[in-house]
């Protein structure tokens, strides 16, 4: 049925991101603003009502009765289990109870390193973006970090200009030389699980730790994905993703974001 539906690129990102949460009912997830909030709410409606959303402002087990534009206003705290402080929330991944993180990216590379800080050479940056927020604290230790961003050669780069949040191979700044080393060497736990874009889903090879194309959405070609990727992408394992169902779309459009405040459609 899904082929007949008009589905926007943003809606695809939300719903395919939501599907990643299927195996994680009753688990705890650190959820960022924007598409991650929508994705987690879709997942809760459809598959994992026991998923616990934790927000970096210290809202634990947030219910999110109305989709917020801000992580720090009344819509986040309302109805949550306890409103504590940022540190208790963000340290969840390091402590171990929080297994899932959802992050955005201005740049992402083949190892899943994320840059949201600045563009340009590391020793001569051209302009600033926004900074880490809580991304680094989440991405350093979450068992499964999901990266959600639109795919283009500008965002999918061979090596990010600045590592805000470390991926599978990251710079060791604790020693001179900024050597790139496997994240285990840095004693970071977990790591990037997938990059969910408007075109498909990239995962990371167990051995090489490099991104490969896992799924491309119906109507998207592998060529289209390669044209929007700035690094060598292994597409040998790629398969077409299951189409978005009417149920998924209905939940997003009528339950999660009925007013379309995020203009996903």
């Amino acid at each position: 049925m899904s082929e007949n539906l008009q589905i926007s690129a943003q809606e695809k990102m939300v719903i395919y991101a939501a599907r990643q949460l299927k195996p994680f009912d009753n688990k705890q997830a650190l959820i960022g603003i924007g598409l991650p909030v929508l994705a987690s709410q879709v997942a809760k409606y459809l598959w994992c009502g026991g998923l616990k959303s934790i927000i970096e402002n210290g809202s634990f087990d947030a219910i999110i009765a109305e989709i917020p534009f801000s992580l720090f206003g009344g819509r986040i705290s309302y109805g949550c289990s306890a409103q504590l402080d940022n540190g208790f929330a963000l340290s969840g991944a390091k402590r171990g109870r929080v297994e899932i993180g959802f992050l955005g990216a201005a740049q992402v590379d083949k190892y899943g390193n994320i840059n949201t800080t600045q563009i340009g050479p590391i020793d001569n940056p051209k302009f600033r973006i926004a900074g880490s927020g809580g991304a680094v604290d989440i991405g350093c230790y979450c068992a499964h970090t999901f990266i959600v961003c639109a795919q283009s050669k500008r965002t999918f780069v061979n090596q990010v200009d600045y590592v805000t949040t470390p991926g599978w191979v990251a710079p060791d700044n604790t020693k001179a030389g900024r050597a790139w080393v496997p994240r285990e060497t840095l004693r970071l736990t977990g790591g990037p699980a997938a990059i969910i874009t408007n075109l498909g889903i990239m995962k990371f090879d167990e051995k090489t730790k490099e991104a490969y194309l896992d799924e491309y959405y119906p109507g998207v070609t592998i060529e289209q994905i390669l044209d929007n990727t700035g690094f060598d992408l292994d597409v040998s394992r790629a398969r077409e993703a299951d189409g978005i169902t009417g149920e998924e779309l209905t939940v997003l459009r009528t339950k999660v974001d009925p007013l379309n405040i995020y203009k996903t459609r």
């Binding site: 534009f69 720090f72 009344g74 986040i76 540190g87 963000l90 805000t164 470390p166 700044n173 004693r187």
Partner: protein, 324 residues
């Protein structure tokens, strides 16, 4: 006898000195002490260093008040870039010293608990701890009391308790000169009750030398003291109390009002050019002599439109039947 802590916004802000490290409460677009920020602009404070997040206080960069920030985020949430900051960076007139989010809390938690520094496992593998991006010296050059800022942003060492001697990152304590916090309710002796996101405010209130609280409502102490477990900052940490209704506008104040998205969009657009930013500043800061003038400027109808609804603490977009 109890000392009277109630002062005018002007008098409260006047204690801040050029080169002070100032903590602003709330986060990004929630519960920020924006009225106090406007007064800082009117009093033309210089060389201020702020902490953690830089969002609506962008106009203080444009006004030449903020010259340094140690924090983890400089952006206006969904509204986009902070234009004055980016202009100041391009002119090399601003120091942004990057930090992790938990580390932002730890650098305040340390002095709040009397600790010299904290051993953190966060930011390893990130360029946040890249020594080339340690701008402590630049921040110290701005500060009135440079010794408040560690000579290094981070120091790497080994965990001496662990047989594996893994690397840990030491984060120095940073005591703000002043913390300015906006809250819904404050008792007349200084007991503070925060609704929603508490952010780093409690740590800052214990870490800073002076604490100014602006509040929507000044209520009897006895009312708040019926439930001390619900209060966030005790009288003993509050030095000045200022009554400032809508003092967080245009950011959200849970339990009181939503963020004024229109006002934030207008700011973000206007701030993109120096000319428009100057006009915006005149219209929203310098031409308004006090908070009453600001309230009239917002307008009663807009205020009613933003006013939060019980029990949500925000203004529902849909009918309450639908929201449940």
């Amino acid at each position: 006898m109890e000392a009277n802590k109630m002062v005018s916004l002007k008098d409260a802000v006047s204690v801040i000195q050029d080169g002070d490290i100032v903590f602003f409460g709330g986060i990004v677009d929630g519960r920020r002490p924006v009225a106090a920020m406007r007064e800082l602009a009117r009093q033309q404070k210089k060389n201020l260093i702020t902490l953690s997040f830089l969002s609506v206080e962008d106009f203080l960069v444009g006004a030449g008040c903020i010259k340094g920030i140690r924090g983890c985020y400089t952006h206006l949430g969904i509204f986009g870039k902070v234009p004055c900051l980016h202009r100041a960076l391009a002119k090399n007139e601003l120091v942004v010293d990057e930090f992790g989010h938990i580390d932002c809390q730890l650098q305040l938690m340390a002095p709040a608990l009397g600790l010299p520094y904290v051993a953190s496992p966060y930011c390893i593998g990130s360029d946040i701890i890249n020594p080339n991006y340690d701008f402590s010296e630049k921040l110290r050059a701005l500060a009135r009391e440079p010794e408040r800022i560690g000579a290094q942003k981070y120091i790497f060492t080994e965990n001496p308790f662990s047989p594996e001697h893994e690397t840990v990152v030491l984060v120095p304590a940073l005591r703000p000169n002043v913390a300015i916090i906006h809250a819904g309710k404050i008792g007349h002796e200084g007991t503070v009750r925060i609704e929603g996101t508490q952010g780093l405010d409690i740590y800052a209130a214990f870490a800073a030398d002076r604490v100014i609280v602006t509040a929507e409502e000044i209520v009897p102490e006895s009312y708040l003291r019926r439930d001390p477990n619900r209060n966030n900052i005790p009288t003993t940490q509050v030095d000045m109390i200022v009554h400032v209704p809508w003092g967080a506008h245009p950011t959200a104040l849970p339990g009181y009002y939503d963020m004024d998205m229109e006002a934030l969009f207008i700011y973000q657009k206007a701030a993109r050019t120096e000319e428009d930013f100057a006009k915006w500043s005149d219209e929203w800061i310098y031409s308004l002599s006090d908070n009453n003038a600001y309230l009239e400027k917002i307008g009663a109808a807009k205020m009613m439109q933003l006013k939060a609804v019980e029990p949500y603490g925000f203004k529902p977009r849909t009918s309450v039947e639908q929201l449940g």
